[in-house]
């Protein structure tokens, strides 16, 4: 297809990089990335991917922008309060870079819609805020064979891992089951420093770009653990679990599960 002059100018600083060049930029422009959640992780990830010129960015979120989101959800702004997050995110991404086609999904991902949505994408980014969605996204990506960048944050802790189904372990190889409802504080109950979300969401964007470009070593088979209080990054090994309930040779999970929602605050809000 070849790059236009304005594209050569816009992307010049990454085209200059060894191993990227015009060919790499074309790969980015032809890529399709689905981001689950337009929140603390999804915001920085979506912004960097839009800036880099990812050709199609799907973004899924059922919520509207609230004033208390703006402390960390850097894709939204004050005038967007009350608007669906996916619309706000779409306007911001297209405003930065009209090369990007944004596909908004103003809905919660469920077992009945997720496979149909992810099938059109090259890679999925999980920036959701609850265990039911995280296990649903993992299982759907394993069943569909879609690469997945997983990121999670809790107060001053962050985690990231990249899942290439068949090649490496999945999220259930790492944590076989979600905690029972109520045991682990989730979402809004916990509190978060915006920059911590920025660190992990940016790592996810970096993993996606490396995957698209075929560069470097992905976080496959190893979990990145970030501690914001001592600014440490560590890795632990994540082997493929031969007894994994979804990605092993003898899976016990053969269809998607909608786990019970257990963030009490979210429940109250929806009722």
């Amino acid at each position: 297809m070849g790059l236009r002059d304005d594209q050569i100018e816009r992307y010049s600083r990454q085209i200059l990089l060894p191993n990227i060049g015009g060919k790499g930029q074309e790969k980015i422009l032809n890529s399709k990335v689905l981001i689950v959640g337009a929140g603390g992780l999804g915001s920085p990830c979506a912004l960097y991917l839009a800036c880099a010129g990812v050709g199609t960015i799907g973004i899924a979120d059922a919520d509207k922008v609230e004033l208390n989101n703006l402390q960390r959800q850097i894709i939204h702004s004050t005038k967007e309060v009350g608007k669906p997050k996916v619309e706000s995110a779409q306007e911001r991404m297209v405003g930065i870079n009209s090369d990007v086609k944004v596909v908004p999904y103003n809905m919660r991902l469920k077992s009945e819609n997720i496979l149909d949505i992810i099938k059109d994408y090259d890679i999925v980014v999980d920036g959701s805020d609850n265990f039911p969605t995280r296990y649903l996204v993992n299982d759907a990506c394993v069943l569909a064979g879609k690469p997945l960048s997983h990121g999670g944050i809790f107060r001053f802790d962050g985690q990231a891992i990249t899942i290439l189904p068949k090649e490496g372990p999945c999220y259930r190889c790492l944590f076989p089951e979600p905690p029972p409802p109520g045991l682990v504080p989730s979402c809004q109950e916990a509190g978060i420093l915006g920059a911590v979300a920025g660190v992990i969401g940016t790592i996810q964007a970096n993993e996606v770009l490396k995957y698209i470009l075929g560069l470097g070593d992905l976080l496959v088979g190893r979990l990145l653990v970030f501690n914001a209080l001592n600014s440490s990054f560590r890795h632990v090994k994540v082997p493929k679990d031969p007894d994994c309930s979804i990605c092993s040779d003898k899976p016990t999970i053969t269809e998607l599960i909608d786990y019970e929602e257990f963030c009490s605050l979210r429940k109250d809000k929806e009722e």
Binding site: G39, N130, G152, P179, N230, R234
Partner: protein, 92 residues
């Protein structure tokens, strides 16, 4: 026989907000029992009623997940570092 144990944020309430504590034990099971006597309540966060590690909290000896070693019987030696890493779901 000092073992450094990294405590994740959700469990730091039990360790007087310490992110790292020292304990001992010749294997993971003993270490958990020793942690429990220093920080009561921590064992039931890590293990189910049968004493098996829960499925959403992992225990690592250095960089290795004990589920792929000898689980609770995994031996410890001086200067090993144990990390407790729970599943975390936040992202909003």
């Amino acid at each position: 026989m000092a073992i450094k144990v990294r405590i994740p944020t959700p469990l730091q309430k039990l360790t007087n907000n310490q992110a790292e504590v020292e304990s001992e034990g010749k294997n993971v099971k003993e270490l958990i029992d020793n942690l429990e006597s220093s920080f009561p309540g921590i064992k039931e966060r890590l293990c189910d009623e049968a004493g098996k590690a829960r499925k959403f909290i992992n225990i690592y000896v250095n960089e290795e997940d004990i589920r792929f070693l000898q689980r609770e019987d995994t031996a410890l030696k001086d200067s090993d570092e144990v990390s407790i890493i729970p599943a975390i779901a936040g992202g909003a």
